[in-house]
Amino acid sequence: MDHAPTPSTRIPTAEHITSYPRFILRALWLATEGGVGFYLWMFVLTALMLVGLNAFAHQTAEGLAVTAMTDHVSWGMYIGNFTYGVGLAAGGVMMVIPAYLYRDKDMHDVVIVGELLAIAAIVACLAFVNVDLGRLDRAWHMLPIVGRFNWPVSMLTWDVVVLAGYLLLNLHVVGYLLYMRYLGRSPSKSWYLPFVFLSIIWAISIHTVTAFLYCGLGGRPFWNSAVLAPRFLASAFVTGPAFIVLTLQVIRHVTRFPVAEGAIETLLKILRVTVILNLFLVACEVFTQFYTGGAHVTSATYLFFGLHGHDALVPWIWCAIACNLTATAILLTASFKKHTGWITAACGLALMGVWTEKGLGLIVPGFVPSTLHEIVEYLPNQVEWKVSIGIAALALIVFTLGLKLAIAVFTGEMQRHDEPT
């Protein structure tokens, strides 16, 4: 990433006033340029996003009654996806750590992919919490100063702070590095390195705080576990690298952006540790619940085996466990190490497994049985699926366009000196 600055590319500070808007304009133009495959991809994503937007408009007009949530299971798929998204965002840091702390050259060249993933995932997270609000028109009540911000007592206010902070940190780092590259200048370390190191700590904090949202509730024994935050981090460090490996493989296929084998190798090495760590922590949780028994095990019994004939989540959780175990087995099999097909399958399975285990598998059993031991089941309905897919499409649009810009700048396709006059 380090470029020797050439005198011809130096511009006076005042010129940023014109050159930065032009950079943004060119980025926007570039965002709508591409081949048939690109247009098709964006068309499908936009269509899906519109379907979600329409479902969300209905939900806003008619109330959250159109979802499958009830007073018994009062959080569902939206909050589950939010939790998963925070994990993806935090998982991006598994590129930042090797790139900046261990000065891994191969990773350094592609680290921007991890930072862009963080941005796209946070956008999705913010969307998921907002669609879950009963009164989106009052979201401003949550703003510090103009609203009434119950900080530091409410963990949700901490989450607002850390998520917004993480988004800004990554936007700054990505925006600064790309703009400098575009100008043909080498970035000044003091303008981004402190932010990169801050973002490493911040990544850990976003997922810790998200776990604290749940594990601090004494009335919900299923969540009331100290191992929840470590579990969240372990699974985040599964999904982040897995998603990035898949992304890097796509980038290799469809662009000229050089992705060194070393970067993928490093991510897979991380994955081989974190999939096991994640399974280990799940096992710790399951042991403590079932060996102790009593009231603490009823939710887990419901999740894994069903309770009094209610077993809506049983197939989901066993499917998740099967996905995680298969992904682990593939990743640890020496002969599959160089096999792109198997690696892709393992990453996909790990993403699916964690999504189920950490989404519906974590949120819903917290509410079943209810605090008065009533059993009301929940599975997301069509509205929730549509809105969720719409938000995922929105995040993929953000991710795609971010990658497109980054790749154009890094491969020299978009440079200041070849601006159209």
Binding site: E33, A57, L64, D132, G134
Partner: protein, 300 residues
């Protein structure tokens, strides 16, 4: 035409189609947006409203109720009385599980008729255990059933309320007389309090409540039984629009067995003081440290 301008024209065309599709997707919002007023949107938190602002707000709610439900109601804002600390006790030996308290709550508090909502849930438990594990809510048939006893559960107005701690916008708080309230005009509907409450005491308005006009209770309080907007939380307020004016909660008046005892803890001659001093009372889920103001006891 150069390639560049043709591409630009195509992009403009695509953007126009996209914007049109977007407008179509958002069309259901039209009716919803029409119900929002700037005054409501900018309304401050309950504790920040001056007396005049509160008066205006109360009149606005009355007008809206008249417009939407066709009923003239009286919305007041009774404040906590000095030297009053409310508490409730329930005699489990007397309760027969008739659910008349839950029905009275439903009517008094202008609950949604479609969901048959109430702040009170009556649990049927087998004699011999206080464990809620085997509690039944949807019991039917003759009550009291042989070998069973009944435990009505409502908001315990905890002195250490987890629901208040978790609220990100301070839309819920504990009043000076011990009642935990919600500003329905400030709540954002995140339902974190509903997840935090260990007693299933909080409810969410999943849609706008429906009540036939003739069944609307016109005696309403801003913080208690006024008809709630869609998308906000609600909970038992010990009927503060009644109790702060010296009356008893609706659930107590409806109870045919005299199981319910309500009063001021600071009044040494009150029934509630007598119960707390003379009966071996207990609270639900004491181990959670929520310090409820709702006590249970057995006579025999």
């Amino acid at each position: 035409m150069s390639d560049f301008t043709r591409r630009a024209a195509l992009k403009v065309a695509a953007a126009t189609v996209g914007a049109g599709a977007c407008a179509r997707a958002l069309a259901p919002l039209q009716g919803w947006a029409a119900t929002l007023t700037l005054e409501e949107f900018l309304q401050r938190h309950y504790k920040e409203l001056s007396r005049e602002q509160m008066e205006r707000t109360l009149r606005r709610i009355e007008e809206q109720t008249l417009a939407q439900h066709g009923v003239q109601v009286d919305v007041a804002d009774p404040r906590p009385l000095p030297d009053v600390q409310f508490a409730y006790a329930l005699n489990l030996s007397l309760c027969i599980g008739c659910r008349r308290c839950a029905e009275a709550c439903h009517e008094e508090n202008n609950h949604d008729r479609a969901t048959n909502n109430s702040y009170i849930r009556v649990l049927q438990l087998k004699k011999g255990s206080l464990s809620l594990d085997h509690a039944v809510v949807d019991y039917a048939g003759e009550v009291p059933a042989e070998g069973h006893f009944y435990m009505p559960v409502q908001c315990h107005q905890c002195d250490n309320p987890p629901c208040v701690d978790v609220c990100p916008v301070e839309a819920t708080w504990k009043e000076a007389d011990g009642i935990v309230v919600i500003d329905y005009d400030w709540c954002i509907g995140c339902r974190y309090c509903e997840a935090a409450c260990p007693y299933h005491a909080r409810r969410f308005n999943w849609s706008a409540p429906t009540i036939p006009p003739e069944e609307i209770n016109p005696d309403q309080g801003y913080l208690s039984n006024r008809i709630r907007p869609a998308g906000v939380m609600e909970k038992c307020t010990f009927c503060l629009h009644r109790t702060r004016e010296g009356r008893l909660p609706a659930c107590l008046e409806a109870c045919p067995t005299g199981s319910r005892v309500f009063g001021n803890l600071l009044d040494p001659d009150s029934d509630i003081r007598w119960v707390l001093e003379n009966k071996r009372v207990f609270v639900l889920k004491e181990d959670l440290g929520t310090q409820p103001r709702f006590f249970y006891f057995f006579d025999k």
